[in-house]
């Protein structure tokens, strides 16, 4: 029993991270129909910025957190402006390869700035792990869960209550129609990039204390986030959250009850099964763009 609880805690922590990364994928997809393969690299940038600001330059946590997010979001905006918008025939596959190129580029930049070694930083608050029925829960895990919940609530508010958010939803439904009714779709795409990469930075910043940050951490995290987004259903806010937690918990249970070597395989087999039963993901948005 105690073990199962421990697996769940481990799964929840990882799941929350996957969820935030999946949110980034999903948001961007819903307003641009684009999958950003460089998303994991923005997570990496967020994580390393956080380490540099908080641990090396001695910034207080909160400014460091927001500064890293702003810095990464700015990089995201620049990326959209310089590499995505100039494309004359924006077919999805072309944009995907551009993001693949960008991921290699950003990894190279990360390596030049932060070197090849891993970096670590202390947790947000110094407090011993909590004991819940014999299982240990990290305080950082609670931080992560709280931040993810707050982020989800904020996004939900943004989409439901603000004009910009509604305009973005309109873009997601139909870009052309949104343009006709006077929504500046180009700005919306730019904004979506900023938000999505910012979200990646949040994921990076909150995991910096529990794991080690290095220039090549992004690929695997991006891949897991992409899986989570797919599992839940692309373009759906709740789908991303659900997919993230599901993936995290399945992985942890896979380690506990099947084999740690086959951990990733378990997750992917289940993912395939879900896709075969529900080809649009669990909370799928229906028709998807083809290549």
């Amino acid at each position: 029993m105690q073990e199962i609880l421990q697996y769940l805690f481990s799964g929840l922590t990882n799941g929350a991270i996957y969820a935030v990364i999946a949110l980034g994928f999903s948001m961007l997809y819903s307003s641009t129909e684009l999958i950003n393969f460089a998303h994991g690299e923005f997570v990496m940038l967020g994580s390393l910025c956080m380490v540099t600001l908080a641990a090396n330059l001695g910034f207080p946590l909160i400014p460091a957190f927001f500064l890293s997010i702003c810095a990464v979001a700015a990089a995201g905006l620049l990326f959209e402006r310089l590499a995505i918008r100039p494309v004359r025939h924006p077919e999805p596959i072309v944009l995907i390869i551009i993001t693949v190129g960008a991921s290699i580029f950003l990894r190279g930049v990360g390596m030049l700035i932060w070197g090849k070694n891993a970096h670590s930083m202390p947790p947000f608050s110094q407090h011993p792990p909590l004991d819940v029925a014999g299982a240990r829960l990290l305080v950082q895990s609670i931080w992560i869960l709280v931040i993810v919940a707050a982020l989800t609530a904020a996004l939900q508010m943004f989409y439901r209550r603000t004009l910009t958010g509604k305009a973005m939803t309109a873009c997601a439904v139909s870009k052309k129609a949104a343009w006709i009714v006077g929504i500046p779709t180009k700005w919306m795409v730019l904004l979506a990039f900023g938000l999505s990469t910012g979200m990646g930075a949040v994921a990076g910043a909150i995991i910096a204390p529990i794991t080690m940050s290095s220039y090549d951490m992004g690929t695997m995290l991006g891949l897991k986030g992409f899986c989570a987004a797919m599992l839940g259903g692309l373009g759906s806010l709740w789908g991303a959250i659900l997919g993230g937690f599901l993936l995290g918990i399945l992985e942890a249970l896979g380690v506990g009850f099947i084999s740690s070597g086959l951990k990733d395989a378990t997750a992917f087999v289940l993912l395939l099964l879900v896709l075969y039963v529900r080809p649009q993901g669990i909370i799928g948005a229906g028709e998807v763009k083809r290549f």
């Binding site: 997809y29 999958i35 393969f37 590499a83 100039p86 494309v87 004359r88 025939h89 924006p90 077919e91 596959i93 072309v94 995907i96 390869i97 551009i98 693949v100 190129g101 960008a102 991921s103 290699i104 580029f105 950003l106 990894r107 190279g108 930049v109 390596m111 030049l112 690929t219 891949l223 992409f226 899986c227 797919m230 692309l234 070597g261 086959l262 990733d264 395989a265 992917f268 087999v269 993912l271 395939l272 896709l275 075969y276 080809p279 649009q280 993901g281 998807v288 763009k289 083809r290 290549f291």
Partner: protein
């Protein structure tokens, strides 16, 4: 008339290959061109699927790996002659593709991408974890060289000619398929699956057939790779490798047979040229990938032509 142009193109190509093989003596350049040939096969196989049938695969390295591992296990562990292992390697990959294809090809767009990606990851993990059979993460050592009758293909010139004859055969085969009724049906799937089904194309069956064919070609490349390097390890067939094949196809130009050749050449040669940048290699490589796609979004084959057209028009004025 089109046929004639085709034949000339192939003749020129064959001549270029023979000339290269005859002229170049340096093992390093031969090796480089052998790798280009292998990558061309991979890109060609995926191009059939992506460019013509419009179905993406983010797990194509899995079939490449299946081809390599099957021949490695048969020829090394069970001492089967490489020539007999070839049909087994290609056949296994095609069989796996058939089984996986039935449920996976029902998906579309990014979900298909995800499905194939997941499949690729699973195969990669199997290569890594089933160490009694595959040698695990450290890799499989001691694969014998390819022998056909009295001829031993031990890299260098004869391997160069072997690989490029295979590439040539595959190019011709693909060309024939594309120009046939099947090819037209395929392109109709690419343009609109529902419309294709409405006019009587059995889209499901056709997609599966192309997927299986494509897997077979990738496995063939894997077979050749295993007997070229004599060593394989799971890392060569990872997610990153799959993405690299997709990149070759798109950079070269989708739905273009010669595009596969160009894309494969560029992506094989680029890292060799970029060695000089050492620490900056990744940055430069990423920038080149991005700029090619930004400025020539239809790939190199079409892109070069587009640029030429524009140049001509501006001069006529």
């Amino acid at each position: 008339m089109n046929d004639k142009a085709n034949k000339i193109a192939y003749a020129v190509f064959a001549l270029a290959v023979i000339l290269l093989g005859w002229q170049v003596d340096n093992e390093y350049y031969l090796q480089l061109m052998i790798f280009i040939g292998l990558n061309t096969l991979l890109a060609l196989s995926l191009n059939m699927l992506m460019g013509y049938a419009g179905q993406i695969s983010l797990g194509h390295a899995a079939f490449y790996g299946i081809g390599a591992y099957v021949t490695a296990i048969l020829t090394t562990t069970y001492q089967v002659a490489p020539l007999l292992a070839l049909p087994a390697a290609v056949g296994t990959a095609m069989l796996v593709a058939w089984f996986v294809g039935i449920p996976t090809l029902r998906l579309s767009g990014y979900y298909l991408g995800m499905g194939t990606l997941g499949f690729g990851m699973i195969v990669h993990i199997v290569f890594r974890e089933w160490s009694s059979l595959t040698g695990g993460a450290s890799g499989f050592v001691g694969i014998p060289p390819l022998e056909i009758g009295p001829v031993v293909f031990a890299s260098g010139k004869n391997y160069f000619f072997l690989v490029w004859s295979v590439v040539m055969l595959c190019l011709i085969m693909c060309r024939r398929i594309i120009d046939s009724r099947v090819g037209r049906a395929l392109r109709s799937i690419h343009d609109g699956e529902k419309a294709a089904a409405a006019v009587g194309v059995d889209t499901k069956k056709l997609k599966l057939q192309v997927f299986v064919l494509s897997a077979g070609m990738a496995a063939l490349a894997g077979f050749l790779y295993a007997h070229l390097v004599y060593f394989i390890s799971p890392g060569t067939f990872s997610f990153v490798a799959s993405i690299r094949i997709v990149t070759m196809v798109v950079i070269g130009g989708m739905a273009s047979i010669w595009g596969a050749l160009l894309g494969a050449s560029l992506l094989t040669l680029l890292p060799e040229w970029l060695h000089a940048f050492s620490e900056f290699e990744m940055v430069v490589y990423g920038l080149i990938l991005m700029s090619v796609m930004i400025f020539l979004p239809r790939g190199l084959t079409r892109g070069v032509l587009d640029v030429y057209e524009r140049y001509r028009k501006s001069h006529e004025r």
